[in-house]
């Protein structure tokens, strides 16, 4: 079942002499439950693509369909709710709210929706993420790996249609790196969670179901790993 489709995405920054084509006619489609790695040199447009897929940035042209819905045909309000419910974003630099504790950071998307927190799911996540006992810690009291696990928790809390992770391990040591990848794999297997990860790490890329390579804003390779 197709969950996500990008159609001819183009993103242009600046104009005239300063014009940068960060994305240049990118199209692909993602099936539900896929675990995709996006690779490519720095500045090739990976982050730009991810932000557009997550609805936090708008393409210059092209379309994104999520669950059959045209993402950018929605108004601002609907787009915000779309992000809240359908997308889980993980950044390289965790991006936690410094004044909120672990529990609040993880449950933030649910709280924003004004819904009640599903305690079962929260407890399960906390134990999977190995954050038990740290619920009331503030972000600055945690290590980098722990902070990244909190942001993964936040991304997974709402059981979104896709989880988008932008170099989630780029800032971590090898032990933490593997831990994070394991977590993503677990959620992929256990919840049949669709995941798209940007990475420079060949090891990680090789653990994915499918690798998309980007160069100068264009897809150069798109291969499904045979396992």
């Amino acid at each position: 079942m197709e969950i996500l489709r990008a159609e001819n995405l183009t993103k242009i920054y600046g104009s005239g002499a300063n014009e940068v084509r960060a994305l240049d006619g990118v199209s692909f489609s993602v099936e539900k439950g896929e675990f995709i790695a996006i690779v490519g040199p720095s500045g090739s447009g990976k982050s730009t693509l991810l932000h557009i897929l997550g609805g936090v940035d708008r393409p210059t042209s092209g379309k994104v369909y999520m669950d059959g819905q045209d993402v950018f045909a929605q108004n601002e309000e609907q787009l915000a709710i779309f992000r809240r419910r359908q997308v889980g974003l993980i950044y390289q630099f965790y991006n936690l709210i410094p004044v909120l504790n672990v529990r609040e950071n993880i449950t933030l998307p649910v709280l924003m929706d004004g819904r009640k927190v599903n305690e079962e799911r929260f407890n399960e996540l906390i134990s999977v993420l190995n954050l038990k006992g740290k619920e009331n810690f503030l972000p600055h009291q945690l290590s980098g790996g722990q902070q990244q696990r909190v942001s993964i928790g936040r991304a997974l809390m709402n059981a979104p249609a896709v989880v988008l992770a932008d170099e989630p391990t780029g800032n971590l040591d090898s032990k933490n790196r593997q831990e994070i990848i394991e977590l993503l794999k677990i959620s992929n297997k256990k919840y049949n969670q669709t995941i798209i990860v940007i990475t420079h790490d060949e090891n990680i890329a090789l653990q994915a179901d499918r690798i998309i390579a980007i160069e100068d804003g264009k897809i150069t390779h798109d291969e499904v790993m045979k396992r």
Partner: protein, 1004 residues
């Protein structure tokens, strides 16, 4: 509590300093707004108390109703309560005021005594229908003197004119006036009509002028009343020929009363009323009387309709209804509220700029957070709500505290200043007290809340405009354009690498830097222009504020052709100067030569410069006042000043002693400067130059003559207004002066003669004068010779405000040379009020207070002026202080937040090895940049605003543009002090940071 509220509170508590400064901003703003609103409510209450003192505590009244109607009114559903007095009738009391020949007797009930303005001067209230109290003015206006214990046998009756009964609101129908009233409307209750009224010297009760159009029979006055307490001067001969009998008094009973007290002239007695109101206790056993009823309504707003629809002759206590807020259409409210609106507008502007900055920074600091929240699905509305919560939270703490401190502040101010208001209250002596109404608090609350919300709304709108990812990257705040930043070599030399970094920070993050400059800029402009505004305001009052060396002045005006009987006047003078409380006194004869043309060549350079006299001007008209001083006083004066009697008292070769100064208020020096009129010290003026004779006309327009008129007018209710009028008159005088001078150059002799409409009069005066001249020819009257002194003159002639040449001669010499316009007595006293009363009574008894003769308690007028100045100064300084506090809080908030926002940058610099010293250098450089940039914009803008203020003030008052240099100096110093202090404070916190923490937490 939802997550956004929680986030907001967490955020606020983590940024304590800024939260506190923001709350202080809100407190200040709410306090100032509250100050304005409670001041209004206190003023309104004070005015209402005054009205109650003067007019009484009632909404409406009927003057002349029978028992049946009285019962109807008393039991009307709409009436809350009614104070009743029976109109017992009139008795002829032999008053010397021919328009007020009667005593009018009222029998009052208890409520009437309580609510009506019956203020005992001596004795007690009547307790039986046989006892009576008399009004004070029966003696001083009517010349009928009784004392407590006296028994009055009165023949009481009703007044009739042409078969119609007249009541107290119908003024006396004088036989002499009847000819003018031939067209009296038979159906009209009022025997007065406006026909020919202007022919006679009738004064209208100005206070009620506006009522004429409203209701013919309103409060106090009927149409075009004769102010019967001012006696008409002369009556035309023709009217006497057509003499018809006036009104008549039909006696119906005789009664006996015992005088038990005296009370102040009651506010419910018209100036035109034909009888002095005496009050006795109501006699319930009698039922034949008519009644006056003063009632309160259940719904005071209905009073106008109720009285209008009653078909009865009645009135509405308009001032009462106005000051208690039941009728709002009055001009009073327009002025009061528009002034308040201007003040509140200024305050709001100041506080929005402070609070706005606090929010703008907090929002831009959190833009990243907003972006983050947006990226995980927060809607715009939710993000804005957070800012709203922040505003509400800050208001929740700040506004109540602000309102409280505003009330306390005004409470303290009024308790210190309240006394000053008593001089505006006339005889009531009421002081202004703090009076807080719920409306004033709600208004303050709402205005303050609006202020905070405006401040929060703008930045929140801006923050949520950008896409989440831009917000997260903060890409809008930093303009990356490498070519743009060029630091000069001097910067590098002076401040090294640190200076360069500071400068780059400036250029690259314009927005934050702009916020600081803008807040400094607004602070500078607000501070300087507030000071200018307050100074101009105080000046416009101080400059017309006249001081003199006497407390009481009496002026006896010689009628045209009246032979001057000096012996009689000096006899009265010595009697008065022996009165209790007088410790020095003097009298002078005065002759005014108005607009005496003085050749320009004689004038001092300062004078010519000040008035900017054009080249072609050859002469300038200046008033010359000639005083005749009693010989012994003059001898003493000469002795004290080491001057020779042989020179200055020589009858054969008269030489005067003169003061010749013009006062001008110098705004820069904050006081009067006196400009000498003449160049030389001995002056000989050719009397032939004085071809323009207006016989004291100019002098009648002099400001203090107007004051006299106001004061001798016994109208208590006008006292407050009089105060204003006095100032206005003062303004006009100033203005007139300057105009005179300005217009002089193009005036010719022809122009002058044109200004006199009544040519015959002028020629007559000229004739008179030429006669005098001929008579005195042997005494070399063709010229005035006098020496200029820089010392004080004799008592009475030294006033802080000068606009004329004052020449003294001993009376022996004076009488040989000049006529006199009037004779003036000056008294310096210890107890001005009591002495004034003694003198007033004495002069009243002698009949010397009627007509143009005036007696003024100058001390009291000056006291009112002094109070006005004090009050305005205190409020000005209060306002300046608060504005300064707002400005400082503003700057502190902006700069400290800005530095907090650069924590990461600092941490980075620290981690690459910048030393403490280096930081200081960098910060100093930034301070200087902030300071200069903001001053460079702020000071010219402040000058601009000052210019606008000047333009406005100059419309009503003669002033010159000046710049408040002290304020500018203070502003310059404070800008640097505040900026440096804030930097030091914020950097201390930053320096304690662990660089890695800062770097780790804040990046993306």
């Amino acid at each position: 509590m939802n997550i956004f509220m929680k986030l907001t509170i967490k955020y606020l508590s983590m940024n304590k300093t800024r939260t506190i400064v923001t709350i202080i901003g809100v407190i200040l703003s709410a306090a100032m707004i509250t100050a304005v609103t409670t001041l209004i409510s206190s003023l309104q209450y004070y005015l209402l108390q005054n009205v109650i003192y003067i007019e009484g505590d009632w909404h409406g009244a009927f003057y002349d109703i029978d028992t049946e109607t009285l019962q109807k009114v008393k039991h009307d559903d709409k009436i809350e309560s009614a104070a009743v007095a029976e109109n017992i009738g009139y008795a002829n009391i032999g008053s010397s005021n021919e328009y007020k020949p009667y005593l009018f007797i009222m029998g009052a009930d208890d409520l009437f005594m309580e609510r009506m303005p019956i203020h005992l001067v001596s004795g007690r209230l009547p307790q039986t229908p046989e006892e009576i109290i008399l009004p004070e003015h029966l003696a001083y206006n009517g010349g009928v003197v009784y004392k407590i214990g006296d028994v009055l046998h009165l023949e009481i009756g009703e007044r009739y004119y042409k078969g119609q009964k007249l009541i107290q609101t119908n003024s006396y129908v004088h036989p002499d006036d009847v000819i003018d009233r031939a067209d009296l409307d038979e159906n009209d209750n009022s025997p007065n009509s406006d026909a020919n009224a202007a022919d006679r010297d009738i004064s209208y009760d100005a206070d009620d002028g506006d009522e004429i159009t409203r209701n013919a029979d309103e409060n106090k006055v009927i149409r075009n009343n004769i102010n019967s307490e001012t006696k008409p001067e002369t009556k035309s001969e023709e009217s006497k020929e057509n003499l018809i009998a006036g009104e008549e008094l039909v006696i119906k009973e005789s009664r006996t009363y015992t005088v038990v007290g005296f009370y102040e002239r009651p506010g419910f007695e018209n100036y035109s009323a034909p009888g002095y109101t005496a009050i006795t206790k109501m006699d319930y056993s009698r039922a034949l009387e008519t009644y006056a009823v003063y009632f309160k309504m259940n719904n005071p707003r209905e009073t106008f309709n109720y009285v209008d629809n009653s078909g009865l002759q009645g009135t509405v206590n308009r001032d009462y209804l106005m000051f208690s807020g039941y009728s709002r259409y009055d001009i009073f409210y327009v002025i009061l509220y528009s002034l308040a609106a201007i003040l509140i507008g200024l305050i709001m502007f100041g506080s929005v700029s402070l609070i706005y900055n606090a929010f703008a920074i907090s929002v831009s600091e959190r833009t990243k957070q907003f972006g983050l929240l947006a990226s995980i699905g927060a809607t715009k509305r939710q993000s804005r709500k957070m800012v709203l919560y922040e505003a509400l939270f800050v208001s929740f703490i700040g506004i109540p505290l602000g309102i409280l401190s505003g009330i306390i502040g005004i409470g303290i101010t009024l308790s210190l200043l309240g006394e000053e208001f008593s001089s505006f209250s006339g005889s009531s002596g009421l002081t202004m007290k703090l009076y807080v109404t719920i409306e004033s608090i709600i208004a303050a609350c709402v205005i303050a809340l609006i202020t905070v919300l405006i401040s929060a709304w703008i930045p929140s709108k801006r923050a949520t405009k950008i896409t989440p990812i831009d917000a997260i990257r903060l890409s809008k705040d930093i303009v990356v354009n490498p070519g743009e930043v060029k630091t000069s070599k001097i910067t590098y030399k002076l401040f090294g690498l640190e200076g360069m970094i500071a400068k780059k920070h400036f250029k690259r993050s314009r927005k934050k830097y702009r916020a600081t400059i803008v807040s400094l800029f607004i602070s500078i402009v607000l501070f300087i222009s507030t000071i200018s505004f307050c100074t101009y305001l105080t000046d416009s009052i101080t400059s017309v504020f006249q001081d003199s060396d006497y407390d009481i002045i009496y002026r006896y005006v010689f009628k045209k052709g009246e032979s001057i009987d000096l012996s009689e006047l000096t006899r009265v003078y010595s009697e008065l100067s022996a009165a209790d409380g007088v410790f020095s006194s003097n009298y002078v004869l005065t002759n005014t030569l108005s607009d005496f043309k003085i050749p320009k060549s004689m004038l001092s350079n300062e004078f010519v410069e000040y008035f900017n006299l054009p080249e072609e001007t050859t002469e300038v008209p200046i008033n010359i006042i000639i005083y005749g001083i009693a010989d012994d006083v003059y001898k003493n004066y000469l002795k004290e000043n080491n001057l020779k009697e042989e020179i200055y008292m020589d009858e054969s070769n008269p030489k005067g002693m003169a003061q010749a100064l013009i006062s001008r208020f110098d705004p820069a020096l904050q006081r009067y400067v006196k400009i000498p009129i003449f160049k030389e010290n001995t002056i000989i003026l050719d009397y032939k130059d004085y071809d323009e004779i207006r016989d004291g006309q100019a002098f009648e327009n002099d400001s203090w003559t107007n004051e006299n008129d106001n004061l001798t007018n016994e109208n208590d209710s006008q006292t407050l207004k009089n105060g204003n009028q006095t100032f206005e008159n003062g303004n006009q005088t100033l203005k007139n002066d300057s105009q005179n001078i300005e217009e002089n150059d193009n005036r010719t002799a022809e122009n002058f003669s044109l200004t006199n409409k009544d040519n015959s009069q002028v020629s007559q005066i000229i004739e008179n004068n030429s006669q005098t001249r001929e008579n005195r020819q042997n005494l070399s009257f063709k010229s005035l010779t006098f020496d200029i002194t820089d010392k004080d003159l004799v008592l009475g002639l030294n006033e802080s405000f000068n606009n004329s040449v004052k020449i003294m001669y001993p009376i022996s010499v004076y009488q040989e040379l000049f006529n006199a316009d009037y004779c003036t007595f000056f008294f310096k006293t210890k107890t001005h009020a009591e002495t004034y009363d003694i003198i007033k009574n004495s002069l009243t008894a002698k009949g010397m207070l009627s007509g143009e003769h005036t007696l003024v308690n100058v001390y009291e007028i000056h006291e009112t002026e002094r109070s006005m100045v004090i009050i305005i100064k205190v409020f000005s300084y209060g306002f300046i202080t608060l504005i300064s506090l707002i400005a400082i809080a503003n700057v502190f908030n902006t700069i400290s937040t800005n530095i907090m926002l650069r924590r990461r940058e600092f941490a980075m610099l620290k981690s690459v090895g910048m030393t403490s010293k280096g930081f200081n250098k960098m910060m100093n450089f930034e301070c200087i940049l902030y300071g200069f940039k903001s001053l460079a914009w702020g000071i010219p803008a402040a000058f601009g605003v000052t210019w606008l203020i000047y333009q406005n003030i100059a419309r009503g008052y003669d002033t010159r543009f000046y710049i408040p240099w002290e304020a500018v100096a203070i502003a310059i110093c404070s800008v640097f002090v505040v900026v440096f202090a804030t930097m030091v404070y914020s950097m201390r916190k930053i320096k304690r940071d662990n660089p890695i923490d800062a770097l780790k937490n804040e990046n993306l």
